[in-house]
Amino acid sequence: MADNTTGVPKKEMAKAYEKYAKSFTPKPTYVANCVRAFIAGGLLCILAMFLQNKLMAMGQNEKDAAAIVTIAMICAAQLLTGIGLFDSLTKMAGAGVIVPITGFANSMVAPALEYKKEGLVLGVGGKLFSLAGPVLVYGISSAVAVGILYWLIGGAK
């Protein structure tokens, strides 16, 4: 920050730099990204539905079939992350594979692999939750709050 010689305030300098840097940042191709996310996300959902229908046709009840499909999707995504293919999928499909449960599954394995060197406890064990942790914390906390509110409302009747 040697810009004091020019008399330009730091903030304006930072702003100018941001603008300068922005001119080199490739602009995301919004429409193409959205189309790819739409198609990939839609196809994943169709695959899940196909699996669930197959399982139900084999005699599973709806709840079990849904659970098995969820587990299968998670395992597939984590395996792909393990062999290094999920990143290419993300590059192709963007949010199409991040927003479905596959993205959640990937977000557990990716940092755990990355920080494997830090050891089995803090490396693998800890980093499994470095990205998935917030999702679980906020998801479960808000759901429990909803549950307790419902119980209170129900109890007041």
Binding site: Y30, N33, C34, R36, A37, F38, A40, G41, G42, L43, L44, C45, I46, A48, M49, N53, A67, T70, I71, M73, I74, C75, Q78, G82, I83, G94, A95, G96, I98, V99, P100, I101, G103, F104, A105, S107, M108, V109, A112, L113, E114, K116, L120, V124, L128, L131, P134, V135, Y138, G139, I140, S142, A143, V144, V146, G147, I148, L149, Y150, W151
Partner: protein, 117 residues
């Protein structure tokens, strides 16, 4: 359940995520948190159920569906009592969460990080 609805609804939810990724400074983990909490809040007002009835896996596979399952479990538990209201959320999503933890751990143990190309 209809495949066309699953495709369109699932695709649209992902498109919303893509738009958030591209046009805002939100990082992927933040968007995942927003989606899950959105699912919880929508279901708290019974607003996500119609989407699930319409699109099946198209609504349950994306992350708002995870929030939906959490909230649904908690609300069903709340009808039984306070303890079930607290445990219901995790109970209803136990399969997915357990699979993600155990299988994720196995994968992280068995595989080594790939060098970036």
């Amino acid at each position: 359940m209809d495949y066309a609805y699953a495709f369109v609804i699932g695709g649209l939810i992902c498109t919303i995520g893509q738009i958030l990724l591209d046009t805002t400074k939100l990082t992927a983990p933040r968007i995942l948190v927003i989606f899950v909490v959105a699912g919880v809040i929508l279901q708290a007002f019974h607003l996500y159920q119609p989407l699930v009835d319409l699109a099946g896996n198209g609504a349950t596979l994306p992350l708002p569906g995870f929030g939906y399952s959490l909230a649904k479990g908690a609300m069903e538990g709340a009808e039984k009592g306070l303890l079930d209201a607290v445990t219901g959320a995790v109970e209803s999503t136990a399969a997915g969460v357990t699979a993600a933890i155990v299988f994720g751990y196995l994968v992280a143990i068995l595989f080594n990080p790939k060098s970036l190309r």
